[in-house]
């Protein structure tokens, strides 16, 4: 069952029960095979579970695409200090709405994934840091956690295995930067949501100073089916380096926007024209942001041969990120869209690092000025240089996130900037 749209090319593993209210309840979830993977995992050794995840080739779904099994294996084996598993449910990247649907429709899938992960890493406590604005998702998740505790699935004695795994749902307070893993840890601890300098890495010093692994909602949701069916099973989809399925959040000028679970390596063009029904009013494609607002734009030509796996999108000139595909047709005012993105990052910069704090705001002001018809051609050079100065110079990558759309748009849609600067003409309709 898809939600709100589905397509025959989809491979619904995580999204199988989207739109099915019964799957939200513990009873409904169990009748759909829920918590069988957890039982299977508990019968294995923690190392074996990690091996299964490694074998599946599952890569982090939060954006960076780091191999999950490898990440889990970084956790120290020494159990003298508490270990924590954090679930990053602070989904805030503009254009991304996959975790929200997972939280809303299959909360028990996430809980099951968390418990398996915690067991595999010897974590005694799972914190699910859920974006505060996801009011419904927070409620659904909290209810599911309560039910799991009541049924003895979470808590002192997980399914009678003798293992203690606590789960806490923590609602965020409205900052994009708290979705950055170390910013999230600070926020969880009650500090300002500011990313921490690495090293030390979370596996050594994470939440509350303890060894911590942090995984995205979608990553953890992929764990129960992988454990239930084995690593090789997961590899039947996707590519060699990017195995499995992935939720694609498609928004923008397409006929059927929404979440689609597709094998990695799926052609971007097919996603737009087949799965999503093509562009509204059959207008021409101008640009696509393939991985959320912080990755470079792809021009229509670049979209042609782009496949949606981690390597394929890089080859096309962007990044898969969290697979949030924003489709822009010919009526799009690129300068305005880029200004909107820059303004978002300027608003969300935590303000720690100087290049980001000052740079995001400065870039936004220049873009606004260009949009108002008061720009100069020199401004474009300044924008490129400023964003250069903002790339790779800060604690986290928020400032790099501004550089990507600004630089790629100036490179690929320079004539739109020049039309505004030279003639005061807007290309497209804002």
């Amino acid at each position: 069952m898809g939600y709100p749209y589905s397509h025959e090319k989809e491979v619904p593993i995580l999204s199988k029960h989207f739109g099915d209210p019964q799957a939200r309840t513990l009873k409904g979830w169990k009748s759909r095979g829920g918590y069988e993977a957890l039982e299977k995992a508990l019968a294995m050794s923690p190392e074996e579970v990690v091996e299964v995840v490694k074998a599946s080739g599952l890569r982090g779904r939060g954006g960076a695409g780091f191999p999950t099994g490898l990440k889990w294996s970084f956790m120290p084996k020494d159990r003298s200090r508490p270990h924590y598993l954090l679930c990053n449910a602070d989904e805030s990247e503009p254009g991304t709405f996959k975790d929200r649907e997972l939280l809303r429709w299959v909360p028990h899938l996430l809980i099951e994934g968390c418990l398996i992960g915690a067991y595999a890493m010897g974590a005694e406590h799972v914190y699910i840091y859920c974006r505060g604005e996801f009011f419904e998702a927070n409620q659904v998740l909290a209810k599911a956690v309560d039910d799991a505790y009541e049924a003895g699935i979470a808590g002192e004695d997980v399914l009678g295995s003798g293992h203690k795994i606590e789960i806490t749902v923590h609602a965020g307070a409205g900052a994009y930067i708290c979705g950055e893993e170390t910013g999230l840890m600070n926020s969880l601890e009650g500090r300002r949501g500011e990313p921490r300098i690495k090293p030390p890495f979370p596996a050594a010093v994470g939440a509350f100073g303890m060894p911590t692994t942090i995984n995205n909602v979608e990553t953890l949701c992929a764990i129960p089916p992988i454990v239930a069916n084995g690593g090789e099973w997961y590899r039947q989809w996707g590519t060699e380096k990017s195995p499995g399925t992935k939720l694609f959040c498609v928004s923008g000028h397409v006929r059927r926007p929404g979440n689609y679970e597709l094998p990695l390596g799926f052609p971007l063009k097919d996603l737009i024209y087949d799965v999503c029904g093509g562009i509204v009013e059959d207008r021409a494609l101008k640009a696509v942001i393939p991985g959320g607002s912080s990755v470079p734009l792809l021009s229509a030509e670049e979209v042609e041969d782009c496949t949606l796996d981690y390597e394929g999108v890089v080859e096309a000139g962007s990044m898969l990120g969290c697979a949030s595909v924003i489709v822009m047709d010919e009526t799009t005012d690129i300068v305005h869209q880029v200004m909107r993105m820059a303004a978002f990052y300027a608003h969300e910069s935590c303000g720690q690092c100087t290049p980001c704090r000052e740079g995001t705001a400065w870039v936004t002001t220049i873009l606004k000025r260009i949009e108002d018809g008061r720009g100069t051609e020199e401004d474009l050079d300044v924008l490129v240089q400023l964003t250069d100065q903002m790339t790779g110079t800060t604690i986290c990558v928020l400032s790099d996130s501004v550089a990507a759309p600004v630089q790629s748009s100036i490179q690929k849609f320079r004539e739109e900037y020049l039309a505004l600067i030279r003639r005061g003409e807007r290309v497209g309709v804002a």
């Binding site: 900052a175 608003h347 303000g351 720690q352 100087t354 290049p355 000052e358 705001a361 400065w362 100065q389």
Partner: protein, 528 residues
């Protein structure tokens, strides 16, 4: 130990050293704002980024630890380029109001931009404006000058451990602020945030627009306001102390001084000074030259009828001055040497630094006086306890103490009243001799702090008129009485002190240097 190469120089440093510290070791200062040796390093100012060969990107030298075989470039094209870029961001919203900024001349933003910034800024945009905010206490905040290094926030949180400052809002709206009406007036060490602020964002209200940094002379000294003996610099211009700043000494005060001490420097500029020797002849005060005055005093002392001397000294004077009094008293047949000192009800410790507190004794040389064998009298206000002197019929000698609570004509029965002091005293205005001396700020010498550490200070001001160091005046007098020469320099005067106090044996004036030296005096238990 780890061997690495910084800018082509091979250097060996302990394993946990950061690149920034290692670079300091070879005299290379990597620009930085958020790093301060007395605070944690958040690595957020991004100014200290350096190139490490083989690294994926530039690394913050303040948190990156050295590694064997590491090759670091602090002045490579990429490092300098990035520094230039970061500095440009700092100036995007900076008001550039150096002409009216107190920090001008000692500002890290000025220095770094002059050294490695762009010649011309490229920002054409309107600047963000925060305005000013009174943070309470002596601290005034200019939001527009702030570089958001958060040293002040970390000082209050980590060192004083009263989190009275915080960052509010985020992005380029972030600004340092206090909590509602709760300002720094509740703090006891908040003045340090002005010192560690690398720019003119946090300035001292007391010092506001008083002097330009480049007009001030800095003299190494010791804070005279309690017995902790914090190392300070006196900043002077036109023979006036304009402010007192902490001087780094890891053994005594780290990088900090308390607000109580910092704010009490103005007495060093006090007027009503004695500036010429005054001898009372036939009910009239006559000013005269030193030779005549001292010869007269010598004669009077030699002719005196009843021998006993009773002396009162002040712990605001140096070991050399106090020891000279004791030597004179001995030369005159011996007698008790008393002192009075104000004493606070309790210590004010700095939570984050072990061994640093504003001590109960509110004078710099109480321990020195005790080690020299002086006896404490009077109450915690530094008053009273003068019974032994008031009715004394022999010689009454007062050094430094102005006897503020006493009326004119102190010690009416005394055969001879000698006042050796810096300030005019009503009680001693009819003394037989009033000899003008310099304060510690006008001479060289040593104080001994509460823990028995002997520390030197240097003259920051010129004494008025004929005022001379007490050890020189009294030394000349006892020299004349004993028919041998008194000390001719502060070093010789200190030599006399070491001969009188067992715990000082082995100390030399040169070895004490500017960082002081511990003596063998037992360290008092905390709280004493």
């Amino acid at each position: 130990m780890v061997t690495l190469t910084i800018d082509g120089t091979e250097i060996e440093v302990p394993a946990s050293t950061t690149i920034l510290q290692a670079a300091q070791g070879i005299g290379t200062e990597v620009p930085h704002y958020c790093y301060h040796p007395g605070l944690s390093s958040p690595a957020m100012c991004r100014l200290c980024l350096v190139e490490v060969e083989g690294g994926p990107k530039l690394l913050p030298s303040c948190t990156t630890e050295v590694a064997a075989g590491q090759v670091v470039h602090t002045q490579s094209e990429s490092a300098l380029g990035m520094r230039r870029g970061v500095l440009e961001f700092y100036l995007a919203n900076h008001p550039l109001d150096c002409p009216i900024c107190d920090q001008s001349g000692e500002c890290d933003l000025q220095d770094y931009v002059f050294e490695g910034g762009r010649e011309h800024g490229r920002s054409r945009e309107a600047k963000r404006v925060f305005g000013r905010d009174d943070f309470g206490g002596d601290v005034l905040f200019h939001g527009d000058r702030c570089v958001m290094c958060t040293r002040c926030v970390r000082f209050m949180t980590e060192v004083e451990q009263k989190p009275l400052l915080t960052v509010v809002d985020r992005g380029n709206r972030s600004v340092i602020d206090t909590f509602f009406e709760e300002g720094l007036q509740q703090a006891e060490w908040a003045g340090n945030v002005v010192d560690i602020c690398p720019v003119g964002a946090l300035v001292s209200k007391d010092f506001l627009h008083k002097a330009r940094a480049w007009d001030l002379e800095h003299t190494e000294s010791i804070c005279p306001n309690c017995s902790q003996g914090c190392n300070v610099d006196l900043h002077t211009r036109d023979n006036l102390v304009h402010r007192m700043k902490p001087r780094t000494n890891p053994e005594v005060n780290g990088y900090w001084i308390c607000d109580y001490g910092r704010s009490r420097y103005e007495w060093l500029n006090r007027g009503e000074r004695l500036d010429a020797p005054v001898v009372r002849i036939e009910g009239r005060n006559d000013a005269m030259g030193w030779t005549t005055a001292l010869t007269t005093l010598q004669e009077r002392l030699q002719e005196r009828a009843s021998g006993r001397v009773r002396a009162l000294v002040s712990p605001f004077w140096s070991n050399e001055d106090l020891s000279a009094v004791i030597r004179l008293v001995d030369a005159l047949g011996g007698g008790e040497v008393l002192y009075r000192s104000p004493r606070a009800e309790e210590e004010v410790p700095l939570a984050g630094v072990a061994g640093l507190a504003r001590r109960r004794d509110l004078a710099p040389n109480v321990r020195g006086a005790e080690l020299l064998g002086c006896t404490r009298v009077g109450d915690d206000e530094g008053r009273g306890g003068l019974e032994a002197l008031t009715d004394h019929e022999g010689v009454v000698l007062v050094l430094g103490d102005t006897l503020d609570e006493e009326d004119e004509g102190f010690a009416p029965n005394a055969e001879l009243v000698i006042y050796i002091g810096a300030y005019g005293s009503t009680a001693l205005s009819t003394a037989d001799f009033q000899l003008p001396i310099t304060t510690f700020a006008e001479q060289e010498g040593t104080f001994t702090n509460h823990a028995g550490r002997v520390q030197r200070f240097w003259p920051a001001l010129a004494g008025p008129g004929a005022a001379r160091p007490a050890w020189l005046v009294i030394g000349a007098l006892s020299g004349a009485l004993e028919e041998q020469e008194g000390p001719s320099g502060a070093g010789e005067a200190f030599q006399v002190v070491t001969e009188m106090v067992e715990a000082y044996r082995g100390l030399t004036y040169d070895a004490i240097g500017s960082q002081g030296a511990s003596s063998e005096a037992p360290v008092p238990v905390a709280g004493d």
